[in-house]
């Protein structure tokens, strides 16, 4: 699904990612953990194609394609989804209209006709209900005056409607209370299948109690320093990043 090979990335001449390797196969859930400034968010932006990142070296292959050749919207329409750490507010654009525009963009890309209005209304209502998003909320402007938790739920709603092949969750757990964390995690788990993959970026092991990863990687100073299964997250929680990084180096 996704193969990152010896990736080097810098921002304005400053090296952030320094030789990162990661392979994610179909149906796998990978967790990426690391301290602030280790390059976690940079990786999510590079994967989704944000401007301002210099790829100095390395390659990224996505479903047999050179990911770095693709535009942001092409990547999205080919099934790559980023759940933002800080979702953007779009004033004047109704949430449900945004969702419909997004799904129709993908359908257009795939050569499908626009989604049937009635069918879409049904789909969005049932998905929103599962996430505890009220229909009143869907009428509000996208993310405007949403609480932190509401914004994160909105990201998961978009994900459940767009049904990505490869979803990157960038610190989706930050700013969530325990109830919201559970609801968001359930949303992710419902989507998990043998056909899709997840890269879950987080600081804390807490989220991984709800979204059980197949693999856990620890990133420090722009490199993956240690990989393992779920027990690595528990170990990390116990010993802290500093200790683990030391062991790794």
């Amino acid at each position: 699904m996704l193969k990152i090979d010896n990736l080097h990335v810098s921002i304005e001449g400053k090296q952030i990612i320094k030789g990162l390797n990661l392979t994610i196969n179909k149906g796998e859930v990978h967790a990426l953990m690391g301290p602030n400034g280790s390059g976690k968010s940079t990786l999510s932006y590079v994967l989704s194609g944000k401007e301002g990142y210099e790829i100095d070296k390395g390659a990224i292959e996505y479903n047999g394609k050179n990911l770095l050749d693709l535009d942001v919207d092409e990547r999205a329409n080919l099934g790559l989804f980023l759940a933002f750490q800080y979702p953007m507010e779009i004033p004047g654009v109704q949430t449900s209209f945004f969702l419909k525009t997004a799904i129709n963009s993908k359908r257009k890309f795939l050569g499908l006709p626009e989604v049937d209005a009635l069918e879409f209304a049904k789909l969005i209502r049932s998905q929103a209900e599962d996430l505890g998003i009220s229909s009143e909320m869907l009428k509000r402007d996208l993310n405007v005056n949403y609480s932190g938790g509401e914004k994160k739920k909105q990201e998961i709603l978009q994900m459940s409607i767009l049904k990505p092949d490869m979803a990157i969750l960038d610190e989706t757990d930050s700013g969530l209370d325990i109830d919201a964390l559970r609801i968001v995690s359930e949303g992710v788990n419902k989507l998990r299948s043998k056909q899709n993959s997840f890269l879950v970026i987080t600081h804390y092991q807490r989220l991984l109690n709800y979204i059980k990863p197949d693999y856990v990687h620890i990133i420090a100073d722009g490199r993956i320093v240690k990989s393992g299964d779920f027990t690595l997250a528990l170990e990390l929680e116990e010993k802290g990043y500093e200790d683990i990084s030391k062991i790794a180096s």
Binding site: S48, G49, K50, E51, D71, V72, D73, R75, A76, N77, F81, L82, F84, P87, M88, E89, I90, P91, G92, V93, F98, T101, A102, S105, K106, F109, D141, Q158, L162
Partner: protein
């Protein structure tokens, strides 16, 4: 950004095909002799078989025009206009002997309107919308006429109104915009060709949207629209105009005068979707749009509301205004002005508070892209007699790219201590993170800009009649094609 570059390349390769109304129609025309003179004025009046009082009024206006300088307050670079280089009247020959029904109209003209999405044949006419179609200097056809007649509503071309309802025209024409207001107003009064006339009788609520579709077709021709709308006591009307023109390398002139009169408790809602040809990317060609629109709330508790979506024209010079004469009267101005490439717009409103307890609201959204300049210019004037009056003004500007300009020039004059005037203004650049967010959800860069800008304009667009709101949203997106980067 790779996506942006690609978009720009694509748009460039399209040339100007983004202006989809740019075709012209081949027709035999009757034209006035080229140039502007008393003879031209007489020719137009004679073509329309006008009574003497109308001709005299025109001739007087022409004298006034010759004495007035070109208005120069706007932040616009207006090239010198050679008034002798234009034709002031052009009518398709086939319309000479007033066609009695649509079957008698030249199929080429009907085809033109169909291509523009304005079918005139009865079986296809827009439901809930009565249309008056003006082609160059003459009105082609007015739909729904009979149904409106039954309610006592008059909706016809101004030329027809001069013949059929001279008392109403005589009473109101020039009563809101005096001939001597400024030189474009005088010019229009001298050589106006056609436009719409609306009279809503007392107590009648007009059940359909009234709409005029203006089309400039002939080359080197100025279009001088004259529209007069009178809403008698306790009546209501919603009116909408749309405008397009073929793509031509020469600049063309459109100088309109629109007068609205609202009597006691009457309400007039006037919406414009202006999409004249804007010129090419280098600023060649396009329409000079010099428009004077003014409404007077003559009666107590009357209301006039202007909504405009200005996306076309090389130069837009336009300040739809309200004179709030009656006590408790209300004026509103909702505006979206988009300029791209080398377009220039200087637009806004004047709210003149004369009566007591009058209120006005101004919401202006200016979007500037490419190398365009976009100015909001507005006046709020509160007379000493206008006690307890209120104004709220909000002007927001959005910049796309770093070669365009946005300017806000509000004038506020208050001679009254009990009145409240509020002014808010913001200027911002389109947010790259918002664009990235939308594109990560699969929208291409142009759709993303369209979505964000439509959101920015929502407060204005929601005031358009529903039938046109969707079209206007598409137009907003199309006008900004190729603007990111």
């Amino acid at each position: 950004m790779a996506a942006t570059e690609q978009t720009i390349k694509q748009v460039n390769s399209l040339g100007n095909s983004e202006y989809k109304y740019g075709f012209s129609t081949e027709l035999d025309e009757i034209k006035a002799p080229k140039g502007l003179s008393e003879e031209t004025v007489r020719f137009i009046s004679a073509q329309k078989n006008e009574p003497d009082w109308m001709l005299d009024w025109r001739l007087n206006a022409f004298k006034v025009f010759n004495k007035l300088p070109k208005p120069n307050w706007a932040k616009l670079n207006i090239p010198d206009i050679d008034y002798q280089d234009y034709y002031y009247y052009s009518s398709p020959k086939s319309l000479k002997d007033k066609p009695k029904s649509l079957d008698e109209i030249d199929p080429e003209i009907l085809k033109t309107y169909e291509k523009l999405g304005i079918p005139l044949k009865e079986q296809k006419i827009l439901s809930g919308v009565a249309v008056d179609a003006v082609f160059d200097s003459v009105s082609v056809a007015t739909t729904y006429k009979k149904q409106l007649n039954d309610l006592g509503i008059i909706f016809c071309s101004i030329s027809e109104a001069i013949q059929e309802h001279p008392d109403l025209v005589k009473k109101y024409i020039g009563s809101v915009i005096p001939v001597s207001d400024h030189s474009f107003a005088a010019l229009n009064s001298a050589v106006f060709t056609d436009g719409s006339f609306v009279y809503i009788p007392e107590g009648v609520r007009c059940p359909v949207e009234l709409s005029t579709y203006f089309r400039i077709n002939a080359i080197n021709t100025g279009q001088f629209e004259r529209t007069l709308i009178i809403a008698d006591k306790n009546s209501y009307v919603s009116y909408l105009e749309g405008c397009t023109a073929p793509m031509r390398d020469e600049n063309q002139l459109h100088a309109a005068n629109v007068e609205l009169i609202a009597l006691d408790n009457a309400e007039i809602k006037y919406s414009t979707v202006q999409n004249w040809y804007p010129g090419d990317r280098e600023g060649k060609g396009g329409i000079y749009n010099f428009v004077t629109k003014r409404g007077v709330c003559r009666g107590n508790s009357s209301k006039i509301s202007w909504t405009q979506v200005e996306t076309g024209s090389a130069i837009t010079w336009k300040y739809p205004s309200c004179i709030l004469q009656g006590d408790n009267s209300k004026g509103e101005f909702y505006s979206v002005a988009i300029t791209n490439n080398k377009q220039q717009a200087d637009t806004g409103t004047k709210m003149i508070h004369l009566g007591k307890n009058t209120s006005s609201k101004i919401i202006s959204k200016g979007i500037s892209a490419g190398k365009a300049q976009n100015t909001y210019r507005g006046l709020v004037s509160i007379n000493s007699r206008a006690s307890n009056s209120r104004n709220f003004t909000q002007c927001d500007s959005l910049l796309i790219g770093n070669k365009c300009g946005a300017h806000t020039v509000p004038y506020i004059e208050s001679s009254n201590a009990d009145s409240i005037i509020e002014h808010e203004a913001t200027t911002s650049k389109i947010n790259e993170d918002q664009l990235f967010y939308c594109m990560q959800r699969g929208l291409n860069s142009e759709d993303a800009v369209g979505l964000i800008v439509n959101g920015f304009c929502k407060e204005v667009l929601q005031h358009l009649p529903m039938e046109f709101a969707v079209e206007a949203q598409k137009l907003v997106a199309i006008s900004l094609e190729g603007s990111v980067g």
